[in-house]
C-alpha cells in the first residue's frame, strides 16, 4: 500500500470517526461535565440513540448539570430521568398515532410536556386530535393552564375546541394567555368561567407578540 493511499484513508477515516463519536453529542460533554459522570452519561446517551430516541435533550441536560456544578451522581440521575421520560413519550406517541414511527421532535416535545407535569392521558388525547401537527404548542398551552390552576381536562377540552375551530401552532398558546387574562380581569371569575369566556370567543383570541 503506497503512502499516498494510507494518507488518503487517514484523511477519510479520521473525520468519519469523529463524526461517529459526535453523532450522539457526547464529544460536546468533554470538559463540561465531571469526569466521574461521563461514562454513565455516555452510556445513557448511547442507549437513547440505539432506541432511535432523540439524544439532544439528554446532551442538554448533561451540559446543564455541568454548568450548574451538579455532583456527578445527581447529574447522572437527571440524565437518566430524561431518558425515562423520552421512552415514556415515545410510548404515548406510538399509542396516539399507531402504525407510524414517532418523529424525534414529537417525542422530545411530549417528554417536555411530561416534565411540566401533564398526565399521559391528556397528552395522548391532544396528539390524537391533531396527529399531523407538531404537538408542542398545544401541550404547552395546556401545561400553562394547569400551572395557573385550571382543571387539566377542561383545559384540554378548550385546546381541542380551539384546534377544531382552526387555530394551529403557536396560536394555540394565545388560547392559554386569553384564559389567564380572563381570570385576571377586575371583578374576578372562576377558572371554569374564564374557560367558558375564551371558548365563546374562539377562534378570535388575541395574538400575543414576542414572549407569550
Amino acid at each position: 500500500m503506497s503512502w499516498k493511499l494510507v494518507l488518503a484513508l487517514a484523511l477519510v477515516a479520521g473525520p468519519a470517526r469523529v463524526v461517529a463519536q459526535s453523532g450522539n453529542g457526547t464529544t460536546r460533554l468533554a470538559g463540561r461535565v465531571p469526569a466521574a459522570a461521563l461514562p454513565a452519561i455516555d452510556s445513557l446517551i448511547t442507549a437513547a440513540a440505539a432506541e432511535s430516541l432523540p439524544t439532544e435533550p439528554l446532551v442538554q441536560k448533561a451540559l446543564e448539570g455541568g454548568a450548574k456544578h451538579i455532583p456527578a451522581d445527581r447529574l447522572v440521575n437527571g440524565v437518566r430521568r430524561g431518558l425515562l421520560q423520552l421512552r415514556q413519550a415515545r410510548a404515548i406517541v406510538s399509542r396516539a398515532v399507531p402504525g407510524q414511527s414517532p418523529a424525534k421532535n414529537d417525542v422530545a416535545a411530549v417528554a417536555a410536556a411530561l416534565a411540566r407535569g401533564l398526565s399521559d392521558p391528556i397528552v395522548e388525547r391532544l396528539i390524537t386530535v391533531a396527529p399531523t401537527e407538531p404537538p408542542g404548542p398545544a401541550l404547552h398551552a395546556v401545561a400553562d393552564l394547569v400551572a395557573h390552576h385550571f382543571d387539566p381536562d377542561s383545559a384540554a377540552d378548550l385546546l381541542v375546541e380551539a384546534h377544531n375551530k382552526g387555530l394551529r401552532g403557536v396560536r394555540l398558546l394565545d388560547v392559554a394567555v386569553a384564559a389567564d387574562h380572563e381570570l385576571q380581569r377586575p371583578g374576578g371569575c372562576t377558572t371554569a368561567e374564564a374557560l367558558a369566556r375564551v371558548r365563546a370567543m374562539l377562534p378570535n383570541v388575541r395574538s400575543v407578540a414576542g414572549r407569550p
Partner: protein, 210 residues
Amino acid sequence: MSPLDPRLQEALDGERDPGELPVDLREAYALLAAATQVLKAMPPVSVASRVMTEIRQNPARAHSEGRARRLIRWLGEGRAVTVRLRPVWTLALAAGLAAVLLLPWSMGGPTPGVAEGIANFVGHFPGARSVEVVGSFNDWSRGVLHLSDDDGDGIWHAKAVLPAGQHEYMFVVDGERWVSDPLAGRYVDDGFGAGQQNSLLIVRPVSAQP
C-alpha cells in the same frame, strides 16, 4: 443680448474711421466711446476693497445688530463653499459615511430568520455586578449572552435571536448565583433533585409574530 454690429466693433477697435459709419451706428459709437472713457478714468477696485467700502457705508447694520440676529442672517444668506479634497480622502469619507449608515442595522437590532424569533430577557437585580443568561440555546455555556444595565437602575436586559421553539434557561447573577427568571411565566423542574426550576421560553418564529 443682440450682437454688436461688426462695423461698430471695428470702429471701437480703431480699425475703421468712425466717420464712415452710418448715422445710427455713429450715435451708438459715440455712447460707447464715452462709456469707455469713463471706465478708463476709474481706478481698478478689488473685491476686498468693494466689501470694505460696503461695510463702511453701512456701519450701523454691521455693529448695532445683536449676535443672534447676525448669526441668523449669516445662516440665511447663500454662500459659495469650496472644499478641496484629495480622492483618497474622498473615498475614506465615503467609507466612513457608509459605516455610520449601515452599522445601526447590523448592531442595533438582530435580524431573525424565518425559523427564528427575538427573545427579550429582562430581570430586576439591583446592585448586581453582572447578569448573564445561560440556557439550552447556548449549550448552557457561560459568558455568551450578558444582560446590561446601562443606566444603573437595576433593570438588566438583553435581546437575542433564537431558534423558534422551546428553550430552558436561568440567569446567573454575579457569576455564581443561579436565578429563575421571575417574568418567564413558565417553569420546569431541572430534574437534578434539588427542586430548582428552570425558566421556560417558547420563541415564536417571526412569521408567527404579528
